[in-house]
């Protein structure tokens, strides 16, 4: 399915585990250090510098853009490191997170409660994914370098729904199909 950001509740309802979603419009980047700062702002009861209502956060720290390119290599980073922070951001309206790898069971439950969706892009395909980015600009925490928050304009950026709001779980479903013998304890 093709969606334009910001994301609506109707879009979220249609995103089911296994569906490939092509995002167009503005998305924001964020990794460990930026998430920590955002949550520290919330702890101090400050208004967040970015309104995350209906927004998408892509877990990435790109390489510097070569001359003539909108961005450098920009594949997803492991998402579990953001589990400690992401529930707070969903409470501020964040709808979609894109990264790679699985997330904690507790966080997956939080996603169902907060009606958030998690998708994965292909890890290590940073050069290919950079072809889906039209423009990029650092909008927050410049001092963090690659870990700053960038505003990306993307066209048909691909990611596969991994955890949906109905409890659908792509990883468990797919791995089961190809597991020849169960792991011994």
């Amino acid at each position: 399915m093709y969606v334009k950001t910001p994301i609506t509740d109707q879009d979220i309802a249609k995103m089911r585990a296994g569906e490939i979603v092509y995002f167009s419009g503005v998305i924001y980047t964020g990794r460990d250090a930026a998430h920590k700062r955002l949550v520290e702002s919330l702890d101090r009861h400050e208004k967040l510098p970015i309104d995350f209502k209906g927004q998408v956060i892509y877990y990435v720290g790109p390489t510097p853009a070569k001359p003539g390119r909108p961005i450098g290599s920009c594949g997803p980073t492991s998402s579990y490191r953001m589990d400690a922070y992401s529930t707070r951001l969903m409470k501020e309206g964040l709808k979609v997170m894109i990264g790679k790898g699985d997330r904690s069971d507790a966080f997956v439950q939080d996603m169902i409660v907060e009606k958030g969706v998690y998708l994965q892009a292909v890890g290590g395909a940073g050069a290919l994914l950079s072809r889906k980015v039209i423009s990029s600009e650092v909008v927050l925490y410049h001092d963090l370098g690659a870990e700053a928050i960038y505003r990306l304009e993307v066209k048909d950026f691909p990611a596969i729904v991994t955890y949906d709001i109905y409890g659908g779980n792509l990883i468990i479903d797919e791995v089961k199909k190809y597991q020849i013998k169960p792991l011994e304890d």
């Binding site: 980073t77 370098g145 690659a146 797919e174 199909k177 597991q179 792991l183």
Partner: protein, 285 residues
């Protein structure tokens, strides 16, 4: 050569320029033979999603090679193995020469600076130094430099565990299979699995890292280890984790095991996972 014979002098600029070239090349050029390995894996992969993931990885690596761009945004912390000939006289500080090469590569090669200044207070060194440098003395008057930009995703899923002799091969297999299964997509499979058996705590980790530098097609000269590599590869690929953890029959492309004698009470096992961006390049000066 006797003491007092003529030694070979090597300038620091030569080390720096070699490291710089290796770092840029390793990040952008995975090499055609590794792409062939991925193509073989694609033919065998049973999952449709898994096939699609491998296709995207091949396309990605091809774009990176053609356009001289980093294949992955995680351009790693640089690991450098130096095999230094006894008969080489270095005209300066080897460590600084290597770090200067890293500094130049990451600035001029548009690579990401991924080194935090301090493990607790974090920050960034802003030039991707220091590298992790291992120097080994060897006979001869040459220097061999092997350089690997090592990503955080796969390194984070690596571990050392001190097993005991009675754990044996079954204990080793169980540890490897559990580590890879629960790592799922986080270390970016399909993996090259480096395993260090024996030595002690740090030696096992060291030889596990050396194992992932081995040629992907080589055959272990130790028949016991060659057999274990083969069995583990099959059993890892029966876990179902698949390319990027999306499920499938290709979780690892190779298992490489290096070993070292160990204490009579011990069976150290280090597992160093290498993501599908299996980047290492070498050069002899």
């Amino acid at each position: 050569m006797r003491l007092g014979d003529v030694m070979r002098y090597i300038e620091m600029e030569t080390i720096t320029s070699t490291v710089k070239a290796l770092a840029i090349d390793a990040n952008c050029n995975i090499g055609k033979s590794f792409i062939d390995v991925l193509r073989e894996a694609l033919k065998k992969e049973k999952s449709g999603i898994g096939q699609n993931v491998i296709e995207q990885i091949i396309e990605n690596d091809t774009i990176a090679m053609e356009h001289k761009e980093p294949m992955c945004q995680d351009t790693g912390m640089v690991v450098v193995f130096v095999e230094l000939g006894y008969d080489v006289h270095l005209k300066g500080d080897l460590y600084e020469a290597i770090n200067e090469g890293v500094r130049q590569a990451y600035e001029e090669g548009f690579l990401r600076k991924s080194v935090a200044k301090h493990p607790i207070t974090r920050g960034n060194t802003n030039d991707n130094t220091p590298a992790v440098i291992h120097v080994k003395l060897v006979p001869g008057d040459k220097i061999k430099i092997t350089l690997a930009p090592k990503g955080g995703g796969s390194e984070n899923m690596s571990l050392v565990k001190m097993l005991v002799p009675s754990d044996g091969i079954e204990g080793i297999k169980k540890l490897v299979l559990h580590t890879i299964f629960y790592a799922g997509g986080k270390p970016c499979p399909p993996l090259v699995v480096g395993i260090g058996l024996g030595g002690n705590l740090e030696k096992s980790a060291m030889i596990a890292k050396e194992a992932i530098m081995r040629d992907i097609h080589d055959v272990n000269p130790d028949p016991v280890l060659a057999q274990l590599e083969k069995e583990l590869l099959d059993e890892i690929n029966e876990l179902g984790v698949g390319p990027m953890g999306f499920g499938g029959s290709t979780t690892a492309l190779a298992v490489k095991i290096n070993s070292y004698p160990c204490h009579i009470a011990s069976l150290p096992v280090a597992i160093n996972l290498q993501c599908h961006a299996s980047r290492h390049k070498e050069s002899v000066i």
